[in-house]
């Protein structure tokens, strides 16, 4: 006798291509992380001020990335590696930078992704 397959309500949800997940609106997140801002002081009173400073710094960083678009940027990486390339864009988690005309000791790479974890600092002329 042929067995009927067990029915399912739906299939498991897959990853969101645009984000790394960990939805801050999920009940677990809200319950366990009332503030997602790690406060160095650990005191409730300082959180607002720290939040303001963090927002300012974040905004400055994002504006820097915008300003960097299509400009030649020098990257100082680990192992004493220094490269120069035209900055294109960053991904949402600042894990990779898309660059063009990457100058390397073995030639110029037309298009490349640089891993942000590998960078120590980068600079460009405003």
């Amino acid at each position: 006798m042929k067995k009927a397959p067990v029915t399912v309500l739906r299939l498991p949800r897959g990853p969101d291509p645009n984000s790394r997940g960990f939805d801050p609106n999920s009940p677990r997140f809200i319950a366990l992380c009332p503030t997602s801002i790690p406060s160095s002081a650990g005191e409730g009173a300082c959180i607002e001020e720290e939040q303001r400073s963090r927002s300012e710094l974040r905004e400055r960083f994002l504006r820097t990335l915008i300003k960097m678009s299509n400009k030649p940027v020098n990257f100082d990486m680990y192992e004493g590696v220094q490269v120069r390339a035209k900055f294109g864009a960053s991904d949402i988690d600042v894990l990779n930078f898309q660059v063009s005309e990457l100058q390397t000791p073995i030639g110029v790479q037309k298009e490349a992704l640089l891993r942000c974890h590998d960078m120590i600092s980068f600079s460009f002329d405003v």
Binding site: M1, K3, A4, P5, V6, T7, V8, L9, R10, L11, P12, R13, G14, P15, D16, R20, G21, F22, D23, P24, S26, P27, R28, F29, A31, L32, C33, S36, D93, L95, R115, H117
Partner: protein, 328 residues
Amino acid sequence: MAMRQTPLTCSGHTRPVVDLAFSGITPYGYFLISACKDGKPMLRQGDTGDWIGTFLGHKGAVWGATLNKEATKAATAAADFSAKVWDAVTGEEVLTLAHKHIVKTVDFTQDSNSLLTAGNDKLLRIYDLNKPEAEPQEISGHTSAIKKALWCNNDQQILSAADDKTIRLWDKTSSEAVKTLTFDQAVSSMEYIPDGEILVITYGKTVAFYNAHSLDLIKTVDAPTSIHSASLHPDKDYFVAGGDDFKLYKYDYTTKEEMESYKGHFGPVHCVRFSPDGELYASGSEDGTLRLWQTAVGKTYGLWKCVLPEELASENSDAIYCPPEIKA
């Protein structure tokens, strides 16, 4: 009427899934973490397989992954010579522990205060997560790469399996090997069941059960194929195993009889584990997917719904998904 198993496929990984682990049961359910050669371990809701998030940061294949009991922390072991500790609620990387070679395995103590790591440098390392900058305690002895290391006996002892074909039981305080088991072939996987102190070991086509204290053999069961991983049900009535022939096997633990086998994966099965409530088991495969399988086929649980034949034919069946018949 007997029902046919419908596994739930969790996609998202782009390379083989080599390790998986469940958390304990938390107020928010239980969770599942998968280690993948694509370097991006993922967290999923344990009973549905729904993706929650991806831990981004490793620069190489992730060989081992684990969650603490409360599913608030995750740890991963990777080919980039590091083990990382993560906040499993926010997905943020909390700690990177540099090693001198590929790290293969990670395990938290019950209180989540210590992390055990091991890998190709043949050393067991114990990190105090409250003092991560401090040098870890190192335990040496294995003569080849360590594949799996687990806390046992109330976190007072450590079990490790290595490519030197031995499993060793170590005392944490003295760093000494208390017992050694030697095999003819490399051990492919190891699972420790604290409740009952049972150790599940796989090698060749064999699934073996040992007493975790004495390392006395309880029983062995031979399977039709080379087995990569096995897991014992919390109630110790069944165990499941998977390996080279892509199938999942379910055995009666008491009688050692093979009860069922299931097709579904398109590649060898690398890891299989029962959920903490025993209602399902998850398998990870070379095909890049995780699959969730019901222990009691046909039971309403998670995304599986027990539907009577009359209901299927009625107008209320809109919300119910009937999987297409797949000829294997």
